[in-house]
């Protein structure tokens, strides 16, 4: 790639919003998402820091999962742009990994732990092709990294919640992405799994890659993450955890639920129901 040419092209695209950098793994601009006319995310702006471990924190219904899904195009955006390293998502699918919430799948599905991890390689395998031995080996080493190698051939319903979460993490690892979105990786896991997951996340960060997690446990945010996004329909605050996680910001995120904005959105939703 010719660096000067690409710089020219991106400078012109970024003139109106000089705060976004091409190096940023994720740049969200003026993103609004609505479910059934009720806004869930409103005019969200965010610029991710490369090689960081970032938590998305906020009350229930604040739009944390929706933020992740909207970035990945899994739910439609009403307005706004999302760019990864200055490019749209479809151009960089290979470089972005996603770990959905554990509850989002049917754990009674007839697959083994290794089968699930192999699914992380499907994009590399390509359409119509079978998963080769090399891909299986890669999946197996991801299972080893999360301490689940002994459970590779278990049917997934026979795994505990923590083990299932590790399998999901292994699947994300085997995508070999540079930016990861993880939806509540620590939800409902035992203490030793929590430590193991954190260790893997730190390894990812230390190798220069970026992890953005939806996180529900306010007590551990400061210890686990270097950066934080406080989200409640809008971005209340974002930045280094030490500076951002203040009482004042937390109060604005969790306390002021009935702001003018949420009141307005309630009304919008009600009028939406009356006139379909």
């Amino acid at each position: 790639m010719n660096p000067s040419a690409s710089a020219d092209a991106t400078t012109s695209a970024l003139v109106s919003r000089p705060e976004h950098s091409v190096d940023s793994p994720l740049a969200v601009h003026a993103m609004t998402v609505a479910y059934h006319r009720k806004p869930v995310l409103w005019d969200v702006d965010y610029d991710a820091t490369a090689a960081s471990l970032t938590a998305i924190v906020g009350p229930n219904g604040a739009g944390k999962s929706t933020f992740v899904k909207a970035c990945l195009g899994l739910v439609p955006r009403a307005t706004g742009t999302v760019e990864f390293w200055g490019q749209p998502f479809r151009a960089v699918r290979d470089r972005v990994g996603y770990m959905p919430q554990r509850e989002s799948v049917d754990w009674d599905f007839p697959v083994s732990a290794l089968d699930v991890v192999c699914m992380g390689r499907y994009r590399k395998v390509g359409w119509f092709r079978r998963v080769s031995r090399a891909h299986r080996m890669a999946a197996m080493s991801a299972l080893e990294r999360v301490g689940m190698a002994d459970y590779a051939s278990r049917q997934i319903s026979q795994l505990s919640g923590g083990q299932q979460q590790r399998v999901f993490l292994a699947r994300a690892l085997t995508q070999e992405a540079e930016l990861y979105f993880m939806d509540e990786p620590f939800a409902g896991v035992d203490a030793s799994t929590e430590r193991a997951i954190l260790e893997v996340l730190r390894e990812i960060r230390d190798s220069g890659r970026t992890v953005i997690c939806v996180h529900h446990d306010l007590l551990t945010v400061a210890e686990y993450f270097d950066r934080v996004i406080l989200l409640n329909m809008r971005v209340v605050a974002a930045g280094a955890t030490s500076e951002t996680l203040t009482d004042d910001n937390l109060h604005r995120t969790y306390g002021g639920r009935l702001t003018l904005l949420s009141e307005a959105s309630e009304q919008l939703a009600r009028s939406g129901q009356r006139q379909p």
């Binding site: 899904k69 990945l72 195009g73 899994l74 479809r90 699918r93 972005v96 996603y98 770990m99 959905p100 989002s104 799948v105 049917d106 599905f109 007839p110 697959v111 083994s112 089968d115 699930v116 699914m119 499907y122 994009r123 395998v125 359409w127 119509f128 079978r130 998963v131 049917q155 319903s157 699947r171 995508q175």
Partner: protein
């Protein structure tokens, strides 16, 4: 029955039933796993208006327009179901029910108004198909002629249509196996990887619609619906890998077709009955029977297997409790206990428990007294050790008070853990008893 009558009268209906069974059975796996089993039902009813319209427009039973009309109305069904589910925000089952009943009724209405029934299209055929009428008019005289073009050209048309459909379905399932799998298991991460679940949904539904229509004419809608659900449901009970489930479903489908035909035709014939049941109907009954059998007798997930496992566990718990009681009695200086007391007092056990313990050499019974053998003492020590370690753990680590830990430890002692429990801080259990 001679070979010739078998070839002329029986081979084609049997083959047609088998082809339909395997075609629908393979696709059914993905419907059942996506909890869309009813979609097979919906599609196979809702194709009726398409068939009737194509029929009226072309005024013939030419296969191509009928096939296209039916597939189009099958896809219309899928689209309408999706639309009603999203806009009306109702559960998929309700959306499917609404769409297919209305479209089916519409088909019946057009059929009556258009005078279609006068042209050899009647509701009975729609339900049970026309399997029995499939005869092979020019069967080969010798085995060598079987593969000559002339003989194969004489095969009834539905056989050709169904064979091609089966080949298409097999290619579809084999080449898109992993894409169908991930779209069914985890639609979101499939989408994030660029495997659109919507695309997979419509692809699968198109193939289901095509397969249903192709099988429809010969075997009727009831068998199509049954085969889209039953072999997959049976295989689901017997396997826990998608690949083996798909293979087993195909085997079950073949068995269903073969057994169904035998029961409907050969058995009544052999018994000299003058009444022969509907072939498609009998195959459907057999398909249902396989599902029922698999639910009861599946070695891993069946009712019987679960009962056996529970019973075995109950027996082991009773035995361990019995050994632990004898061990504690020994600690208190009583080397034997009355067998009558033992069998009465221990939780969930019965005299047979004591007998079994004696038979496996863990307990020796002399007269009315029971005592531990050396082997029994070793086993009992391990159980009491686990019990007291758990008590210590619950007090030291979980902060329970010493007089509340016996009951939970009584349950926990029966678990076999891979990790060793820590020795309590006090070196003995919370009640001061030594750790064996």
């Amino acid at each position: 029955m001679t070979m010739q009558t078998f070839l002329t009268l029986d081979l084609m209906p049997m083959l047609s039933g088998l082809l339909a069974a395997v075609t629908c059975g393979l696709l059914g796996n993905f419907l059942v796993l996506r909890r869309l089993s009813l979609m097979g039902d919906a599609i196979s009813h809702a194709v009726l208006p398409g068939i009737v319209l194509a029929f009226l427009l072309t005024a013939s039973r030419a296969p191509l327009p009928v096939f296209l009309g039916a597939t189009a109305s099958g896809l219309l069904t899928v689209g309408l179901v999706e639309l009603i589910r999203r806009v009306g925000r109702v559960e998929p089952g309700a959306a499917m029910g609404v769409v297919f009943s209305v479209l089916f009724a519409l088909g019946v209405f057009i059929m009556a108004r258009g005078g279609a029934e006068s042209v050899d299209l009647d509701p009975g055929c729609v339900l049970y198909g026309t399997l029995e009428t499939l005869a092979w008019t020019g069967p080969p005289e010798t085995l060598g002629e079987l593969f000559s073009l002339q003989v194969l050209g004489g095969l009834p048309r539905p056989i050709w249509v169904q064979s091609v459909t089966l080949i298409v379905v097999v290619i579809f399932v084999v080449t898109l196996f992993k894409e169908l799998g991930i779209a069914a298991f985890d639609a979101q991460s499939a989408a994030a990887q660029g495997i659109s679940p919507t695309l997979m949904h419509y692809l699968l539904m198109s193939v289901v619609a095509g397969a249903a229509v192709a099988s429809f004419e010969a075997v009727g809608s009831i068998l199509v619906i049954a085969m889209l659900i039953c072999p997959a449901a049976t295989a689901r009970m017997l396997t826990d890998r998608l690949r083996s489930q798909v293979i087993v479903s195909a085997i079950v489908a073949v068995a269903t077709g073969g057994l169904g035909y035998t029961l409907a035709v050969f058995v009544p014939l052999g018994l000299g009955w003058r009444f022969t049941p509907s072939v498609a109907g009998m195959m459907t009954v057999v398909a249902g029977a396989f599902v029922a059998l698999s639910i009861v007798f599946s070695p891993t997930r069946g009712m019987v297997a679960r009962k056996v496992r529970t019973r075995r566990l109950a027996r082991r718990v009773a035995l361990e409790d019995l050994l632990a009681r004898l061990f504690r009695a020994e600690e208190e200086g009583a080397p034997a206990l009355a067998s009558a007391d033992l069998s009465r007092a221990s939780r969930g056990s019965h005299p047979a428990g004591l007998e079994r313990a004696a038979k496996s050499g863990l307990v020796s019974i002399e007269g009315s007294l029971a005592s531990l053998t050396d082997a029994g003492r070793a086993a009992a020590a391990a159980i009491v050790r686990r019990h007291r370690l758990w008590e210590g753990y619950l007090v030291d680590r979980a902060g329970l008070s010493p007089d509340h830990v016996h009951e939970p430890a009584e349950l926990l002692e029966h678990l076999s853990l891979e990790t060793e429990l820590p020795i309590p801080d006090a070196g003995a259990d919370p009640h001061g008893k030594p750790i064996p």
